[in-house]
């Protein structure tokens, strides 16, 4: 299907400028962007349209029936469970966002402004990256022996006599979920912020300093405003990852905590696809609204 369209695009890419010379008003950018557009249409737009269509379908015990029903939506939106679960997911998103933003900014700031050589910056940055290359699943379950009732932390604390008996809420709790999420997603905040910080013109900082600004003033009035695009991009990453998460919540809360995606998974496990699809559409709309809001504040396209 894509074969016929891909080829000219690749040929065009191979000789972009020569084409441009004979170009009739810039066919080139269309050809160059065609592969991206095609892939995203086939594997993003089409599936989402499908989900939207299915969310209006009827279903019974075993099969789905093409139809136009709004009951799936009234079921989703009319139940307090949905609202509670969304609130819970948003709560997780907010906490994890605040923590990753705070940690991510200071780590990036340290790397960008306190490390003097580029080589050292790269090395330290890579040190932060390595854990993120281990499988998410393994990284997540690796917290269990650390946090468990007889895990590393608890046995150390008990051994040192700091607590009389193991702390229960370290594992299978909301604390564990947040901890694991921060662990999993902080890099997505560090990278874009580090990127924007590295691009700040150092003479601006010097100028502010020469004009008598204190360290905090420089930070607050010069660096943070200039780092906003990076923070915005990091926020988009983290918020969307948390909103869509099901495995971390499931494993780290010991199944005791709900998330929107987990709710969908439960419906899918009993093959109730139209209900899951309606849930998916609601989640999608919410996430897109959040992102649109962020994009209104910071135009990442201009600032990239």
């Amino acid at each position: 299907m894509t074969v016929a369209l891909d080829r000219p695009a690749i040929a065009a890419a191979a000789k972009p400028a020569r084409r441009r010379r004979f170009a009739f008003g810039g066919v080139t950018p269309y050809l160059q962007s065609a592969p991206l557009a095609l892939i995203l249409s086939a594997f993003l737009l089409l599936p989402i349209i499908m989900i939207v269509v299915v969310s209006f379908w009827d279903y019974d015990f075993a099969a789905m029936y093409p139809d136009f029903l709004t009951t799936n939506y009234s079921d989703v939106l009319g139940s307090w469970v949905t609202w509670k679960t969304y609130l819970n997911t948003i709560k997780f998103a907010a906490i994890v966002w605040a923590l990753t933003l705070c940690i991510g900014f200071w780590v990036a700031y340290f790397l960008a402004f306190h490390i003097r050589t580029t080589a050292m910056q790269m090395v330290l940055f890579l040190v932060c990256t390595v854990p993120f290359l281990t499988s998410n699943i393994i990284r997540m379950i690796s917290w269990i022996p650390v946090l468990g009732r007889n895990g590393l932390i608890n046995s150390t604390l008990v051994h040192l006599g700091l607590v009389p008996k193991p702390i229960e809420w370290l594992l299978y709790s909301e604390f564990a979920v947040v901890l694991a999420m921060v662990h999993l997603y902080t890099l997505f905040m560090v990278t874009p912020i580090f990127n924007t910080l590295m691009r700040i013109d150092r003479s601006l900082v010097e100028a502010a300093r020469d004009a008598g600004a204190s360290g905090w003033q420089v930070l607050w009035n010069v660096i943070i405003p200039l780092a906003k695009p990076g923070m915005a991009i990091g926020t988009i990453f983290v918020v969307t990852l948390v909103m869509a998460d099901f495995s971390t919540v499931q494993v780290m809360s010991g199944g005791q905590s709900a998330s929107v995606a987990l709710m969908m998974k439960n419906q899918m496990s009993l093959l109730q696809y139209p209900a899951a699809a309606a849930n998916a559409v609601v989640l999608l709309v919410l996430v897109l609204l959040i992102v649109a809001g962020i994009l209104r504040i910071v135009d990442i396209r201009k600032e990239l």
Binding site: T2, A62, V81, R149, L270, L271, Q272
Partner: protein
Amino acid sequence: MTNTTQTKAGISRRSLLKTGAAAVGLAAGSGAISGFPTIWAQSNITLRQFGTGVSNLNAIADKCKADLGITLEMTATDSDAAAQRAVTQPDSYDIADIEYWICKKVFPSGVLQPMDVSKLKYYDELVPLFKTGKLTPDSVIAQGTAPHTVGYVDAQDSKTFAKAPTNWFTMVPTIYNADTLGIRPDLVGRDITTWADIMDPAFKGKTAILNIPSIGIMDAAMIMEATGNIKYADKGNMTKDEIDKTIDFLIKAKQAGQFRAFWKSFDESVNLMASGEVVIQSMWSPAVAAVRSKGIACRFQPLKEGYRSWGGGLGLAAHLKGAELDAAYEYINWYTSGWVGGYLNRQGYYSANMVSAKKFMTEDEWGYWIEGKPAKGEIKAPDGTVMEKAGAVRDGGSFEERMGKVACWNSVMDEDRYMVKRWNEFIAA
């Protein structure tokens, strides 16, 4: 670009196989089937099977290749994904290894084809539990989605389940077991006799049940009934009112902090128990064995209300035909011919064909696992590790004692939409 060509190549490779195998299949069909023809060896026929890691064992694929020459490509998934794959990717497998409760949903969706009982060589030897629902002629049929209720359809093209045995089998039963509570005898400090004991305030924060909605609700039902809160007409098919009562009960217990966790996969349950997070929980027999093999005391405690049972089987994908279909029957006949049965029995599960499985077990193994007798020597797992020392007796006793005391089967209810809705409430509470 690449994907198109690769798919095409894949299809042509498969169709080539089919034509190649067709001739061989004919030969196999005409030859008297005594033992298993090794004719498949020349055909390179491949069957793709998926299912949970419980029964998708590599050892079975190896032995199948050696005995039949059929290459078995096994893919292990978690139980959720198994149901999804069965229904949404029917082209991606030839043999579906799924559980009976989800079969109630999968089969009517038309992705599986019923099998002709007359082609099943060992049909007569299968445990009657899967045909009539009764282990012995005078046993009581357990509640829930009992395998025999979804075991037959009326005709080859039918998708509705038959009330009584017919000539068309939906799945060949392969593996099943009776589940109960697992306990840490060293930590519970008293006798456990009933499902209600999991609600004992003494175990607050140290209990767990399953987090697969269709199974977890059955755990809850067993507990509910044991505490005397309710008497269900049919636990496996609750009314909305019964679902409400059950979930409300669970929510109350959860908010009171009775549960430490809800587990979803086998190894989660093992870790919960082995690490001491939990001292009493709903568990599977081999999980108990896994805990015990680490030198930690763990018992699969029989309870007075009986067991919650589950069963799995092999189903044929609807797209199978010709030589591949023949090979699939061949494989299923081999599966029930004893070697696999012995292997599963030795893991603490039960084989659906006990007659043939017996031939592949030593007298001591048969005595320990099936007859409930004390082990004479060491009982070893299929991989050779020692599971039990001489003198040990299996928790719950013999096959008849355990499978004869099944109170209910894992179930899909008619009100499953409502059930999932309420289950999500329970998790969110």
